[in-house]
Assembly symmetry: C2
Homo-oligomer: 220 residues x 2
């Protein structure tokens, strides 16, 4: 397909696509004469991924670049997903406390999970625990273990989905699905948790309350 | 206590605290002479909350202002938490599709949850579903219902914790705990989900793999 169709299919403008080509985010098309190039489905899918990472996940272009490099340089499904995940975790900032790291290790052992020492996710989790501790609302070991357990079925279902989806060309499409699933499903998880909290907290605050005020009024 | 002690207790610098006073984020202390003011525990707690919202949750100062206004203007526990939550959801951007809104309504009904029409959390959830749809990875109804169910125990435990915690002065401290719990526990939830995904995906990719490469090597 030519540039115009690529723009229509991806939902991006021609100048934006040309910018991504110049920046090396999108591989060049197949040369067709001196000034034209033709593009295929891999270009459409790559542009959709870039759009998802920038517009929806809110990543900076530099981070998008690193995520794409991770996908392109990977040799196996898990290696590619892992490389993308590592880059999604962002650069390490403050080092977490050894108490938080020990708690994370204990959680991993209880769940039967393993992470390479210093894995960005373990560090991110430990830093999040430190942050709660610092504001005087520590998350104790029982709550951490409980939450890890509760999240198992969600994560398992997501991984099975990506593995079982039918994709045209193996690894790249799987990794894109995994990255999109991880990033773009995060707002869904967080919104569901907040909605559930909102409802449980209303129920505890006033057991007689059978809904928000404006819903009750609409029933009169 | 004087300003110097307030700085030491809150972990913030004196110029920063003075800036928050000028901006109206922190209530003035009790005047004690022409140039001095004395502060109490409510000031310490408020500064810790501001620090958590800016440094850890990464909110802009304008949003912090709105969250604090919501807390200060509330008349009951649930109203205060609700007001803070509404502001945490951020301003409405694009309107979600009616298909996504219908899916959210169906999920709420199945769970026995109620939200006022147009509640920011329902809109946020619907927009997140639209985003997944737009990149070609829609979250179907079964997966949404499944995730809502899986998050119930996490949310219930969190709400019970806030309700049962001992706080000095009722509503304000409870709301602070709820806001901090909601915002600062989000990175914990997301990190746990990613760690679980990473482990399940490794297990599916290579059932013989018993850990990351560098952990296997260290056992030799």
């Amino acid at each position: 397909m030519w540039m115009a169709e690529l723009a229509a299919r991806s939902g991006l403008s021609v100048p934006t696509i040309k910018f991504y080509l110049r920046e090396g985010l999108l591989p060049a098309g197949a040369a067709s004469g001196a000034t034209r190039a033709s593009y295929d489905e891999t270009h459409v899918r790559r542009l959709r991924l870039i759009r998802a990472l920038t517009d929806v996940a809110g990543l900076r272009l530099e981070t998008v670049h690193q995520v794409l490099d991770g996908i392109d340089g990977a040799g196996s499904w898990h290696e590619a997903v892992g490389a993308a995940h590592t880059r999604l975790a962002g650069p390490a900032t403050e080092a977490p406390s050894s108490a938080a790291l020990a708690l994370v290790d204990q959680m991993l052992e209880l769940q039967g999970w393993q992470l390479a020492p210093g894995h960005p996710y373990a560090l991110a989790l430990a830093r999040a625990l430190d942050a709660l501790e610092q504001v005087g609302h520590p998350l104790n070991d029982h709550k951490l273990f409980f939450n890890a357990n509760a999240l198992r079925p969600i994560a398992m279902q997501e991984v099975l989905d990506v593995h079982s989806d039918e994709h045209g060309d193996a690894i790249e499409a799987d990794v894109e699905a995994a990255v999109i699933g991880t990033l773009l499903t995060e707002p869904v998880i967080l919104a569901l948790r907040r909605i559930a909290q909102e409802n449980f907290s209303r129920g505890l605050d006033d057991p007689e309350d059978d809904g928000p005020a404006d819903m009750r009024m609409s029933r009169k």
